[in-house]
Symmetry: C2
């Protein structure tokens, strides 16, 4: 198994939170060479020094043609830009993948310009963490997390098998295959809505010591309000239709509770909560 | 210190999730006798058998007059009812406390009928847990949690000191003193809003397997949707004014994000998120 990785060079594009975790993981899986690209020279030097990557390249033109796997860990606009402007340089038969949090847009942008001898396997690792001030992340953040693949008709069977095995070896849990439309719809709900809710909860607080009055729920629910604002704003706008739809639904449900409370409709609150409690129980811990 | 408890009898009224944890804690602190009252005979027998209480009394009239401390672990309506109907029986000089999650109502109900020789110290332990099917709870749920006291002018200094030391010995963290008005306002935000949000998130889900598409936020944020619906509905209605106000504010903030996303106002989203991120950071982990 591992010998497969030993014959392959990999390029990680963007050595940020996710990129550094990917690079660390590739190093420990024994890839032949782990190259790193970033627009920030200091990041590359630090990553080299900490042996997160074998070599940092501010210019990828000399290495990308040697790489069997290119993992683009950039946000949507930069990922599209990087892939388009380097399309001619990719190695024949190489695998290209990304980690962008919405999938319709990147697929719509890349497929029309994709070379026939480069296999683009769009992915979304459901791992991350709050900002912490550190530059690099441990690959432990992958442990047991879901990894979504939105495969296209063009993907080669052997490459899909390779990427799936790689994801497993990296420590991820379940691999979920779905179409980009379904992905973006579900993500609007399970991820984007959560982040907006957390932000709004903090937004309306006028007391920085309010956590004295809590049992833990408030802090747990709002931790994800500490996010990379530019990355998330881009993702929200890229998934505008799905996200607005889910925000509308959510507001309707909050409205139901608000009205029921205002009108003191005790039974309609308990009835709805009983249904919801059962529903949540079925979703597991 | 401990000898103080050894000379005192305590009665826990309502051997549910919280009552059983209180009783266990009192037993391990070495109270002379830990009596338990519940309307359910089987619960009392089970609690006696598991040595959570020294003696179960379906009728409290014979023991309440011996108790130096009475802790009422019932919901608002039942707590008011119990205290009012047993007012004549309390021991002269005893301390009475409750754990109801909103404080204005119970104080408004009890103070006018309170005997001068009974000291009512209203409390709100910020501990709890989701439904689990088990009847009794471990007193470990108290560890490090906040305990709010909304003291009244009638409270005796020595009784306040006693109750505070007891709370500390039980393993709670910070003890917060505030007035009932502030308590109910803060709780609407840090606790009640969280529960309604969690419920609404589950409410709008039409896919029981949606957690495949998540990194953990959704499950973490919705766990508290599995609640005791009748207890919470009562608390929501008892705190109607404060809760509706906070729900209005919350909806306004969600609306701001929805409008910004609909109109693709990238900068207004990132600006607001930057402020929110800093604000949340100041609130601690």
């Amino acid at each position: 198994m591992e010998s497969d990785f030993k014959n392959k060079n990999v390029l990680v594009v963007g050595i940020g939170l996710m990129g550094s975790a990917f690079a660390k993981s590739f190093k420990s899986l024994g890839f032949k060479k782990v190259y790193g690209h970033d627009i920030n020279e200091e990041i590359l030097q630090a990553a080299e020094k900490q042996m997160i990557i074998d070599r940092g390249c501010s210019d990828v033109s000399s290495v990308i043609g040697e790489c069997d796997l290119v993992v683009v860990c950039l946000n949507l606009a930069h990922a599209v830009d990087f892939i388009k402007s380097n399309m001619k340089l990719f190695k024949k038969g190489s695998i290209l993948t990304d980690i962008v949090g919405v999938k319709r847009n990147i697929i719509r942008e890349i497929l029309p310009v994709l070379r026939d001898d480069v296999d683009f396997i769009p992915g979304h690792p459901m791992a991350g963490r709050e900002k912490s001030g550190e530059i690099f992340t441990s690959d432990k953040i992958f442990a047991g997390k879901n990894y979504i693949l939105t495969l296209t008709e063009k993907n080669k069977k052997e490459n899909i098998i390779f990427v799936k095995r790689l994801i497993e070896e990296m420590g991820f849990g379940q691999i979920i295959e779905t179409d980009p439309e379904t992905h973006d719809e579900k993500i609007a709900f399970t991820s984007q809505l959560c982040h907006i809710i957390a932000a709004s909860m903090v937004d309306i607080s006028d007391d920085s010591k309010v956590t004295r009055f809590e049992g833990g729920s408030f802090q747990d629910m709002t931790r994800i309000a500490m996010i990379n604002s530019s990355m998330w704003a881009e993702l929200f706008l890229a998934n505008k239709d799905k996200l607005v739809e889910v925000l509308d639904k959510f507001q309707e449900s909050i409205e139901f509770f608000k009205d029921s409370i205002e009108n003191e409709e005790y039974a309609s609150i308990t009835d709805r909560f009983d249904i919801i409690g059962k529903k949540r129980m079925e979703m597991g811990k």
